[in-house]
């Protein structure tokens, strides 16, 4: 898509891509240009001005100047160095570097750049302003005294996360002496002038941020101004041991580092103090960043429990598990099934597996074609059947990032109204359709985007059936010429003056009505809006979510999806429902429902193996074991044990029944027997990013193609739409499973979530009758929800919510006040 061009940096030729910023081009070629405020994947902030370089003889900022073919860049001249040194001196005004107790403890970019540029004296001064440290939320702690207002936090919050929960606010400091403007370097003055006027404040005007508590602002802070409340002053960064891992909460499978250190003087066992990430290339959510202490501390091997576990496995008829499981463990269970003929039940992965199969037949390939890295490069993104704010944070970040960075547009189809998604960009259209009409949404996408000549006749005529011509009266503004006679007061001469006056006139025009838009709850003016949205758009992507896999007509949806992918020039990605649902779906042959004696692995059963510490035999949690996870980007990524575990693991159980291997990770190369996987040894899998932002984590699943099958989607049935009181199986933000729930910094409770109005009407506690069973829970208002549908979370496996919902994600229920 982009062309390779050659530029010269400091006299040496480098290859780079057209349209790249100078800074990124330099970084990709291992050339250092200092920059504080710039974040890869976000828009340039231009707050620090330190990335000043000379390009073709002109001074430009490397972070927002794009490379041109044959451009000659000089990274530092004497003048530029002087400017940079002045900028660093200004940053050091009232921020002396005798940092006794800062949490950044040596990882500080202010310190680094001050030393790098050799600042050894201070020529500027201004009276300091009293700035009090505050807590912004249950996890965020901000100390404006340390803040250098580089605005990285506000940039990432807006461009990547989409909350835009913080902004710059007034600092109340003394104004700069205007005389300085002439005496000091001009960029340093401009930067100081801005710095002296601002601090970071929550953008809703209160002292509290109203956001998803992802903590990404904490990660990007170059100094110690933003820290998590739990971490403040508990340890120095240099004491922590970094363990590269993969987050095990949702299917994003983000790269993370667990940072550990002994708990305290008395207790020398390792404890995770915080989670960090390569924030230039990956953004975490609140669960990933703060939900890390879900380990299962086991003192020793309980051989008695192990004995009964082996006995239970031998007589088991069903093994029930969920998708918070590594690929290796999934393979063990599958091997066990092949040898012993037990049933494997995994409710979230089962629906996904069926959906993938139904998709792969007509699509002619094993997996969906695209991934979320590709989505981020597109400029028109559509989401169907995924509660964007809750299901998968990275899907949401990608949706938002497209709006902010690529001047993109978006369509969001979801029955539960959300007030956050429309704020991602002005070209976002939301369709709050009735549950059950997902097919109509996909048909609408076909109608809007498909090349008609590629579609089968039948589908074209079916789609045409929704179009009708109608007449509509619209109001239009026209300019009308009015001629008046004006008498000049002084001379008494009459003069004719012609003026143009705007006037509203009513006009009847012919419009094309699209019944699909109306059915999905779109506005009448959608056709015009859509035309505007489509301007200058080149790459399209489609995100589909869990609603589709749990739809009664999932197979038809899968067929439609295959058709969209082949005819709309659109990249399709699926959001796997849970952590490793994709891996489980590829590795295991799953059965629909349990029967007979059941062994549950982190799930209810007659004998329970549990990493939560409440089962019959303890298992290691995901931060205590090695293994690989398959994420939604179709990448098999390694994770390491951050904390020690002294008990038995699944491999030991397998050994006891004669199927085990020496180590759990010895199963990793054996994954190759399953389609898509490859034979890599665990220790050969990398887990990091290159300087140019290339992901080097594990390996990519192969996506073998085959001949596409016959694909003729069925018409949809309007009566599928659910009416009445509806419950939606959906977790609150930052909550994905029992493990995120166990973490002490994740506060979202198990409750019924409803829009504020609905929550008020429901009262404090309710009983939800599913027909097959009831569930009593309290009611929590979710400020960002709209409409009458309520959300019931499924993160607690003990509540067995999947069984209550059955094969659906939307369910008609009766809600009674208690």
């Amino acid at each position: 898509m982009s062309n390779e061009i050659t530029i010269k940096i400091d006299g040496i030729e480098y290859k780079t891509q057209e349209g790249e910023y100078i800074l990124n081009a330099a970084r990709a070629n291992d050339i250092f240009i200092p920059a504080i405020c710039y974040l890869t994947r976000c828009s340039p902030t231009l707050a620090c001005r330190i990335c000043l370089v000379e390009a073709d003889g002109k001074r430009v900022y490397a972070c927002n100047a794009k490379v041109k073919d044959g451009m000659e860049v000089t990274t530092s001249t004497e003048e530029i160095l002087e400017e940079r040194r002045a900028i660093m001196e200004v940053y050091d005004v009232n921020h002396p570097l005798q940092c006794g107790v800062c949490d950044q403890s040596g990882e500080c970019e202010l310190q680094n750049y001050t030393l790098e540029l050799g600042v050894d004296s201070q020529s500027y001064m201004i009276p300091d302003t009293k700035r009090e440290a505050t807590d912004w939320s249950s996890v965020l702690h901000y100390d404006p005294g340390l803040c250098i207002v580089c605005e990285r936090c506000t940039t990432v919050c807006k461009d990547m996360i989409g909350d835009a929960a913080i902004k710059t606010g007034p600092r109340g400091g003394t104004a700069l002496d205007k005389g300085l403007k002439d005496t000091m370097p001009k960029d340093a003055y401009a930067m100081w002038n801005k710095l002296q006027k601002s601090v970071i404040v929550p953008s809703n005007g209160t002292g509290q941020t109203d956001c998803s508590d992802c903590g990404e602002c904490v990660a990007v802070c170059p100094v110690g101004a933003l820290v998590s409340r739990d971490f403040v002053y508990t340890t120095n960064a240099w004491d922590l041991k970094r363990i590269p891992a993969t987050c095990a909460h949702c299917s994003s499978g983000c790269q993370i580092y667990y940072e550990t250190k002994p708990t305290s003087i008395e207790d020398s066992s390792e404890k995770i103090y915080r989670v960090t990430n390569e924030w230039n290339y990956v953004s975490l959510c609140g669960a990933g960043r703060f939900g890390y202490d879900f380990e299962n501390r086991v003192e020793g091997k309980d051989s008695e429990a192990f004995g009964s576990a082996v006995a239970a496995l031998k007589k088991a008829e069903t093994i029930r598990f969920n998708s918070v499981i590594s690929n290796e463990e999934a393979l063990m269970l599958q091997t066990f099934k092949e040898k012993r003929g037990v049933k494997l039940v995994n409710q979230d992965a089962y629906a996904f597996q069926k959906f993938l199969k139904a998709y792969s037949r007509p699509a002619g390939k094993l997996l969906y074609g695209s991934d979320f890295k590709e989505v981020m490069k597109s400029d028109f993104v559509i989401s169907v059947g995924s509660a964007l704010r809750n299901d998968n944070p990275n899907a949401r970040y990608a949706f938002n990032n497209v709006q902010k960075m690529n001047k993109g547009a978006g369509l969001y189809f979801h029955p539960v109204g959300d007030t956050l998604v429309p704020t991602f960009g002005k070209n976002v259209e939301c369709f709050a359709h009735k549950p059950g009409l997902e097919e109509a949404a996909l048909y609408l996408i076909l109608d809007l985007f498909a090349k008609k000549e590629d579609l089968p006749e039948k589908v074209v005529s079916y789609l045409d059936g929704f179009h009708s011509k109608g007449r509509k009266t619209i109001k239009e503004r026209v300019m009308e010429s009015i001629t008046e006679t004006v008498v000049d007061k002084e001379t008494g001469n009459a003069k004719e003056v012609t003026k143009k006056v705007p006037k509203m006139v009513e006009k009847e025009v012919e419009v094309e009505n699209n019944a699909l838009v109306t059915l999905l709850g779109g506005s009448d003016s959608f056709a015009d809006t859509f035309e505007k949205m489509m301007k200058k758009k080149e790459r399209f992507s489609l995100i589909v979510g869990e609603d589709l896999y749990f739809h009664p007509k999932a197979e038809n949806l899968a067929a439609l999806l295959a058709m969209i992918e082949s005819t709309c020039g659109m990249e399709v990605v699926m959001v796997p429902p849970k952590t490793n649902s994709l891996g489980v779906a590829l590795i295991c042959d799953l059965d629909e429902s349990p029967a007979g004696y059941t062994v549950g692995y982190n799930e209810p059963g007659d004998f329970v193996l549990s990493a939560l510490g409440d089962g019959d035999l303890d298992m290691p949690a995901m931060n205590q074991q090695e293994g690989t996870l398959t994420n939604m980007n179709k990448q098999v990524t390694p994770t390491n044990a951050a904390l020690e575990y002294h008990g038995y693991e699944l491999n030991d159980l397998m050994s006891a029944v004669g199927l085990g291997r020496h180590l759990t990770v010895d199963w990793t190369p054996a994954l190759a027997e399953k389609r898509g996987f490859q034979a890599f040894a665990f220790d050969d899998l990398p887990n990091g990013y290159s300087n140019s932002g290339e992901e080097q984590r594990g390996y990519a699943l192969k996506n073998p193609g085959k001949r596409a099958g016959n694909n003729m989607p069925q018409a949809f049935d309007e009566d599928m739409a659910l009416d009445g009181e509806i419950a939606y199986r959906c977790n609150p933000q930052r909550q994905f499973n029992d493990f995120s729930d166990k973490a002490h910094q994740i506060f979202e409770t198990f409750a019924l979530y409803a829009s504020p109005e609905r929550a008020e009407a429901l009262g404090e506690k309710v009983e939800v009758d599913f027909g097959s069973g009831t569930l009593a829970c309290s009611v929590v208002a979710d400020e960002r929800m709209e409409g009458d549908i309520v959300k019931i979370p499924d993160f607690k496996s003990s509540k067995d919510i999947y069984t209550l919902f059955g094969r659906d994600r939307y369910k008609n229920v009766t809600i009674r006040k208690v």
Binding site: G100, Q122, I126, N236, S264
Partner: protein
Amino acid sequence: MSLEQFKNRNVGSQTYKMIESEPTPESGMGRFGQVVKRTFKGELFVGLYVTMREMINALFIGEMHTVKYPLEKLPISPRYRAIHDMLRLLESGHYRCIGCGLCEKICISDCIKMDTRYDENQRKEVSEYTINFGRCIFCGYCAEVCPELAIVHGGRYENASEQRAGFSLFEDMLTPIDALKDQKEFDGFGAVTPNADNAIKKTPLAY
């Protein structure tokens, strides 16, 4: 000097001089007389005079030449490195340690451990601090690295104990609040040099 004169064992040819001594008494009475004579010769009292003088000086004039060790101790050099002291700020009485963790980091025998937390006054507080004296090699790096002159080497050198690994807590080493007026500024290892003021570049201040 050659060894030849030592190797010549022919007595008489060297420059030896014989001591003139009284002939050895033969009879018992004679021997007794010799003893009495030698005993009561004034030479004894010439020798004892120094002892008596020092005894009288010590007893009656008070000029002692020894210290009564467990009760009294000799002053030691400020550069001596014994058990650590934790100093307080003289003005406020608050302990100086800010919990930066540098001593913990620099300790080459890894014997310093500290726990810190965020306290009510928005400051970093040391909640727990220990030095394992079984491992401490008294190298003095902790005192040298301390930016606040909070941890210093004191004068307590008697660390005999039943156990090799004696742990010392923060409170044990901290100057007692009632002894604050007696707290001595440390000028040993890691202290500010007398000419420190000349070596620093001052930051301009607008107020």
